[in-house]
């Protein structure tokens, strides 16, 4: 038995050591990061990390914490499942794009938040927002017109503030980031003023306490009075009367089988508000995974008719993007209006 235990322990140790040293930063970056940050870190939904001035301003500790904790409410997920070795491999790989020029010191600076507030409002708020919530959207986009080539980050984000040291913030304000909209304030603001701004930013961390409410069901099913055809007509009319662009109806099975075999007692009524869609895609390009707005009428084998809809509140939580809140609130109100007209 002792021999067996020794064998197991040896295999475990061997595998652990092997895993630690075999973590391939480039492969990990491709697997976990490149979809948003670009294959070579050139940016996309996420920040262009490979821009040298970006890497100069980021400490290894900031990168580690950002990978681990992400950005609550700002698309960037928390990669809690990665091993320490994998995080180190990622940091090492990204460091190849530029050395850190910031001191790792995490000692807090002694700025005055009260003095910092007007300075922030004068010098920073035009890009980072009066509420420090950053630009509309994240990273860069090549697909839709935006106000800036790289969106200013949300400075009030808890993930950002917990990852960034005061020293790092001071460096970025002093040096700026060449090639991005972030200018250098080295000749505009003195050291005390910069420290005051940082102190003010530290006071504005947004509340990201975890949502402890039980998860809502992803879809909602309503029993409706009337026949299948009557219900389809009522839903279609309700959608039209609420000023949506209405797409042609589709059978749920349409396109999956031939027209003679398709179940014609399952119809999806599809609609869209293009103005809201355009606004939403600017802040969340992945939105297509739940498009278009759809209400489905189905007749079950017992002849009962159901109206099935996505639960917009539950859908909204899939994106880790609180910039969608307003759009989702609008969509929910629209769904509710249509559903009220049909189900009451």
């Amino acid at each position: 038995m002792k021999e067996w235990l020794r064998s197991c322990l040896a295999v475990v140790l061997l595998a652990t050591v092997s895993n630690t040293y075999s973590a391939d930063g480039r492969a990990l970056f491709t697997q976990h990061c490149s979809a948003c940050h670009g294959e070579a870190g050139a940016g996309g939904i996420g920040l262009p990390l490979s821009a040298p001035t970006v890497m100069h301003s980021l400490t290894d500790d900031y990168l580690r914490k950002t990978i681990r904790s992400g950005r609550p409410g700002r698309i960037m997920p928390a990669f809690e499942q990665l091993t320490a070795a994998e995080v180190e491999a990622l940091v090492h790989y990204m460091r190849g794009w530029g050395e850190a020029k910031v001191e790792e010191s995490v000692l807090p600076l002694a700025g005055d938040a009260v003095r910092g507030k007007p300075l922030f409002e004068h010098y920073c708020a035009s890009c980072h927002g009066q509420d420090l919530s950053g630009g509309e959207g994240t990273g860069v986009t090549f697909s839709r017109a935006r106000d800036l080539p790289i969106m200013p980050p949300a400075l009030n984000n808890a993930g950002f503030l917990q990852a960034a040291s005061d020293g790092m913030l001071r460096y970025i304000i002093q040096q700026g980031r060449e090639g991005t909209p972030m200018p250098s304030f080295a000749t505009t603001l003195n050291a005390t003023q910069i420290d005051d701004i940082i102190a003010y930013v530290r006071t504005r961390e947004s509340d990201t306490s975890a949502d402890v409410s039980p998860p809502e069901s992803l879809t909602i099913m309503y029993s409706v009075e009337g026949t299948f055809d009557e219900t389809v007509d009522r839903v279609r009319e309700a959608i039209r009367s609420n000023n949506f662009r209405v797409f042609p109806d589709r059978f749920v099975e349409e396109g999956l089988t031939d027209e003679f075999s398709v179940n014609k007692r399952q119809i999806s009524l599809r609609f869209c508000n293009f103005s809201k869609l355009y606004e939403a895609l600017k802040v969340e390009p992945r939105l297509g995974v739940i498009l278009p707005c759809t209400l489905t009428v189905i007749e079950q084998e017992d002849g009962s008719v159901k109206l099935v809809a996505a639960n917009v509140t539950a859908l909204a939580k899939l994106f880790n993007n609180n910039q969608l809140d307003e759009v989702f609130a609008h969509i929910k109100a629209s769904y509710d209006t249509v559903l009220d007209e049909v189900t009451f």
Binding site: S7, V11, R286, G288
Partner: protein, 159 residues
């Protein structure tokens, strides 16, 4: 227990201890350096290879442009398997809004991105029973395989 059995168990134990966990991702997204039209064509082939049928493709970009908005390529590929849709819409009609599945395909500069909901992550939101939870995991694996194939294609085109 002979040494071979002990070795197998030891290796399995070691793998369980050190294997990286699958990411907790509600949306699955990958990037391909292929041009949009080529990538859109390719993904339809890859879906077919994984026994999915492409039901139709919605041109979001066309709709937006018709309404006067400027946008790069943005399409949604609707896909599924008839037997699964037919069976599950009977046993779990609450799933119907998910059918057919939606794969967002969108241009980002010279690259093309693909995003899809991760079915396995939806289990708690669907009050999934054991059978449905297993089906959702199977779909997740299938979707990951499709997306991985798009990345393999990407490597093939780089070299």
């Amino acid at each position: 227990m002979n040494r071979l059995t002990m070795g197998v168990w030891g290796t399995l134990l070691a793998w369980m201890l050190v294997a990286p966990l699958q990411a907790d991702e509600k949306l699955l997204t990958v990037r391909s350096p292929q041009a949009f039209d080529l990538a859109l064509e390719q993904v339809q082939e890859v879906l077919k290879k994984h026994n999915f049928t492409v039901a139709h493709i919605q041109k979001c970009d066309g709709g937006l442009q018709d309404m006067g908005y400027t946008t790069d390529n943005y399409k949604i590929v609707f896909f599924g398997r008839l037997e699964e849709v037919r069976e599950l819409s009977k046993t779990h009609p609450e799933l119907v809004p998910l059918f057919p599945f939606k794969l967002a395909v969108y241009a980002e500069g010279k690259d093309t991105l693909f995003s899809v909901l991760n079915p396995a992550e939806l289990a708690p939101l669907l009050n999934a029973d054991k059978a449905l939870a297993e089906q959702l995991v199977v779909w997740e694996q299938d979707f990951r395989a499709v997306l991985n194939d798009m990345q393999v294609v990407q490597v093939a085109h780089i070299h």
